[in-house]
C-alpha cells in the first residue's frame, strides 16, 4: 500500500508538462500503444496523478521502451499529451536514478 504523495506533482513540474491531471483514465492511449503493454502509458500517468513516485521508479524500465511514435498523444481525447509526459518522466528518472 502506498501513500498518496501530495508534493510529487510539484516536484515533477521541473521535468515535464503539467497535464497529467487532464487524463480521465479512459485507457485509449494504452489501447493504441504499439510497443508497451500492461496499461502503458496510462499506468504512468495515473501514478503521477496519485503521486506514487516509488511506483514510477520501480517500473522505470518500461519508459525506455517508448519510441515516441506519438500515437497516444494523437488519440488522447483529453489533450493530456501522454507522449510528452512519458518523455518528461524519462528526464525525471534520469535525474533521480542514483538520488
Amino acid at each position: 500500500m502506498s501513500s498518496v504523495n501530495l508534493a510529487f506533482a510539484k516536484e515533477l513540474k521541473a521535468y515535464s508538462e503539467d497535464t497529467a491531471l487532464e487524463c480521465f483514465n479512459c485507457g485509449t492511449c494504452s489501447a493504441i500503444c504499439p510497443l508497451v503493454h500492461d496499461n502503458f502509458p496510462r499506468r504512468m500517468i495515473r501514478y503521477i496523478q496519485v503521486g506514487a513516485k516509488d511506483k514510477i521508479l520501480e517500473n522505470a524500465n518500461d519508459l525506455w521502451r517508448c519510441l515516441h511514435c506519438g500515437l497516444c498523444t494523437h488519440t488522447c481525447p483529453r489533450q493530456a499529451d501522454p507522449g510528452e509526459i512519458i518523455l518528461g518522466l524519462k528526464r525525471f528518472v534520469v535525474a533521480n536514478w542514483r538520488a
Binding site: M1, S3, F24, V50
Partner: protein, 599 residues
C-alpha cells in the same frame, strides 16, 4: 328478417395487419352477425381512422344500431375515440363497449385459436353491451381554489403558476420560512446561480400575489372530501389555543420535498472525527466564507487536503449496506449529489488553489445539460478522481501525522485496484436525498407511496404529476430525487393540471359508480359496512311512498370508487355499479361458455 330486440353494432378492426395477420377478421364478422343481439357487423383496416368512425356514426344516425361494440386494440388507446364518435352521432357516449382483440388476442395467439378467442370476446362484449344504458357524467361543483402543501421551490412555483391562471391558492409551509432546502444552498449546479437570488425573486412574487394566501408555521392536521370539494384542517404553531383552521379547496398539490441523509455514527468516521462533515455542511461553510486566503479554512484551520466521498446514503445495496433502525435502505441514486460535489470542488479549487481535492466515486453521474461540463471543469482544476466499489468502500481513520488528522484508505479502481492512502484534513460526505415523512397525510388522502418511500405518481411517463385520487397532484422532490430545475418543471406541470381541472368551476367524472335501487333497498346496511371509501355510502332516513320513515343506502357519486364491494354483499341485489352491473357480468360469462360463436 325478424326484428331483433337489441340492436348492437359490432365493428372489427384489422389494425393494418396487426390483428388480421393472426385473426381471420372476416370470419369473426360472419360469426358476430349470427349473435342474437347483433344487427350490424362491419370490418375496417383502421377503425380509429375517420372512415372507420364514420361507419359507426352512419349506423347510429340511420337507426340500424343503438349499442356499439368495437373490437380493436386496448381500450386505453381508443375507447375515448369511439365514445367521441358516438357523441358526434348525437347518441349517449356510454352505450359503448370495447373488445380488446389485439393485445389480448393477435399479439399472443395465432391461427384458429386466435380467431376463436376474438369471436368469443366479441360475443361477451355484445352480451354486456345489450344492458348498457345511457348515463350522464357526474357533475361536481368545484371550488376554484387550490392548496399547495410544502413551500419549497416546487411548492412556490406551483402556487405562482396556478394563481397565474386566475385561481386562488393557499400555500402551506410547516416551517417558519418559505424556500425549503434552497435556503441552505449556495451557488447552484450546474450554472452557478445563487440559491438566495432565485429564492428572493420567487418569494417576492409569491408574497406579493393577491391571489395567494401563505400560511407558514402551519401543519395540515386532517384532509377530507373529494375532488372540487376537499376540506383541510390546519394548525398554526403560533396559535396558543390550538384552534384548527378549516380550509375548503378544489385541488391539492403535494410539494413536501425532501431532506439530506444523515449518516449514522461511525459511517466514514461521521460523528467520530470532527473533520468529517456532510456536503450540506460544506456548502454552508462555502456560503459563509469571506476569507481571501489561498486555502479553504474550516473552524480557523486551513485545509490542505480534502477528500470527498460520493454516494453516502444512496445506491445502498442489500447485504452490503446496513439498513437503518426502521429497516429502510436507500437503493436509489440521489441524482443531485454528483453535480453538487463537483460544483463545490470547482468553487474550492478556483477560490482556494492551495487546497487539494480527492474525489472518491462509484460512478460519476452528471446526467443533465450543463452537468458533464462540471466534471470536465473539475479535471481542468486538477481534482484527483479515485474510484471505489460498493463492497469495498473507502475507510476513514485517524492519522498520526499532526498535519493531517485523518487518512482515507481506498482500493482504487483507477490505479489498477491498488490500495492507496490519502492523508486528509477534511473529509466531505456526499449525503443523498431522502423524502420527508408524510405517511400520515398520505394515508388520510389514500396516496400511494413507493418502496423507496417517495410519493408515487399514476404513471411515470403518461401521468407523471397525478395521483390516482382525482384532484390531488404532486411536484418536486417528494416524488423522487431531482434538482431544482427539474422540481420547477414538475411544478409547472402540476399547476397546469390543477388549473385545467378547476378552470370551469365544475368537474365531470365518469359515471361508473354505485347506484341504489330504492324499490329494493331494505336498509340492511351490509353495503355500508363493506364500502372501502369513507363517505361514499351512507345509511339515510328517507320517507317511503307510504309516508313512513325507513332507512336506505345512499351513494355520494363523487366519492364512490366504483369498486363493487357493496354490490357483492347486498342480500337484496339492491345496489349495483352503473356500466358494470352484476347482470352484465353474468351474461358475459354465459356468452363465453356458450358455443354461440364456436365453429
Amino acid at each position: 328478417m325478424e326484428e331483433k330486440k337489441n340492436k348492437v353494432g359490432v365493428y372489427i378492426c384489422y389494425c393494418g395487419g396487426n390483428i388480421s395477420d393472426h385473426v381471420d377478421v372476416e370470419e369473426v364478422r360472419n360469426r358476430a352477425l349470427k349473435l342474437p343481439d347483433v344487427t350490424v357487423a362491419r370490418t375496417n383496416m383502421f377503425m380509429c381512422s375517420d372512415p372507420g368512425q364514420e361507419m359507426i356514426i352512419e349506423d347510429l344516425k340511420s337507426g340500424k344500431i343503438d349499442r356499439v361494440v368495437v373490437a380493436s386494440c386496448a381500450p386505453s388507446l381508443h375507447e375515448t375515440t369511439f365514445r367521441g364518435a358516438i357523441e358526434r352521432a348525437g347518441s349517449n357516449p356510454f352505450i359503448y363497449e370495447h373488445a380488446n382483440i389485439r393485445e389480448q388476442v393477435s399479439w399472443v395467439h395465432h391461427g384458429d385459436p386466435a380467431t376463436d378467442k376474438a369471436a368469443i370476446l366479441i360475443a361477451s362484449a355484445t352480451a354486456k353491451a345489450k344492458h348498457l344504458k345511457p348515463l350522464a357524467p357526474i357533475h361536481v361543483d368545484a371550488k376554484r381554489h387550490a392548496t399547495v402543501i410544502g413551500g419549497g421551490i416546487a411548492g412556490i412555483k406551483t402556487a405562482l403558476d396556478i394563481a397565474g391562471q386566475g385561481i386562488d391558492v393557499t400555500l402551506i409551509e410547516r416551517s417558519p420560512l418559505l424556500g425549503g432546502q434552497l435556503n441552505s444552498l449556495g451557488q447552484l449546479a450546474p450554472y452557478g446561480d445563487h440559491a438566495s437570488d432565485i429564492l428572493k425573486e420567487l418569494i417576492d412574487q409569491v408574497t406579493g400575489h393577491t391571489a395567494i394566501t401563505i400560511h407558514t408555521n402551519t401543519k395540515v392536521e386532517a384532509v377530507s372530501g373529494y375532488v372540487g370539494n376537499f376540506s383541510l384542517n390546519l394548525l398554526k404553531k403560533s396559535d396558543p389555543e390550538n384552534i384548527p383552521l378549516t380550509l375548503d379547496t378544489g385541488a391539492i398539490v403535494m410539494a413536501t420535498g425532501s431532506v439530506s441523509y444523515t449518516p449514522f455514527k461511525g459511517e466514514y468516521g461521521f460523528g467520530q472525527y470532527e473533520s468529517v462533515i456532510t456536503l450540506p455542511e460544506l456548502i454552508r461553510l462555502l456560503k459563509a466564507n469571506t476569507s481571501s486566503r489561498s486555502m479553504l479554512e474550516v473552524n480557523g484551520k486551513p485545509i490542505k487536503n480534502m477528500v470527498m466521498i460520493h454516494c453516502v446514503g444512496s445506491r445502498q445495496i442489500p447485504g452490503i449496506h446496513p439498513p437503518k433502525e426502521n429497516g429502510t435502505l436507500n437503493e436509489y441514486c440521489s441524482r443531485t449529489c454528483c453535480s453538487a460535489m463537483l460544483n463545490a470542488a470547482n468553487q474550492i479549487r478556483e477560490t482556494f488553489p492551495e487546497t487539494s481535492i480527492y474525489e472518491m466515486y462509484r460512478d460519476i453521474r452528471t446526467y443533465g445539460r450543463g452537468q458533464e461540463e462540471l466534471y470536465m471543469q473539475a479535471s481542468a482544476n486538477k481534482v484527483v478522481f479515485m474510484r471505489y466499489e460498493a463492497d469495498e468502500p473507502p475507510e476513514v481513520s485517524k492519522n498520526d501525522d499532526p498535519d493531517y488528522p485523518l487518512q482515507v484508505r481506498i482500493k482504487d479502481g483507477l490505479t489498477f485496484n491498488e490500495s492507496l492512502t490519502v492523508p486528509a484534513d477534511l473529509v466531505v460526505l456526499a449525503t443523498g436525498i431522502e423524502p420527508n415523512d408524510v405517511t400520515n397525510l398520505a394515508s388520510q388522502m389514500k396516496l400511494p407511496i413507493g418502496t423507496d418511500r417517495f410519493l408515487l405518481e399514476v404513471h411515470p411517463k403518461l401521468r407523471p404529476v397525478e395521483f390516482p385520487i382525482t384532484g390531488i397532484f404532486l411536484a418536486g422532490t417528494c416524488q423522487a430525487p431531482m434538482d431544482s430545475g427539474e422540481a420547477c418543471n414538475a411544478a409547472g406541470a402540476a399547476a397546469v393540471k390543477a388549473s385545467a381541472l378547476l378552470s370551469k368551476g365544475y368537474i365531470e367524472l365518469d359515471p361508473f359508480v354505485a347506484e341504489v335501487d330504492t324499490d329494493k333497498c331494505q336498509g340492511h346496511g351490509a353495503c355500508v359496512e363493506a364500502c372501502i371509501k369513507e363517505g361514499a355510502l351512507t345509511l339515510m332516513e328517507v320517507i317511503n311512498p307510504d309516508g313512513n320513515p325507513v332507512k336506505q343506502a345512499q351513494v355520494t357519486p363523487a366519492m364512490c370508487l366504483g369498486c363493487g364491494a357493496c354490490a357483492a354483499v347486498c342480500p337484496e341485489g339492491a345496489i349495483d355499479i352503473n356500466g358494470w352491473a352484476l347482470k352484465q357480468y353474468e351474461d358475459m360469462v354465459d356468452a363465453i361458455v356458450s358455443d354461440s360463436v364456436a365453429v
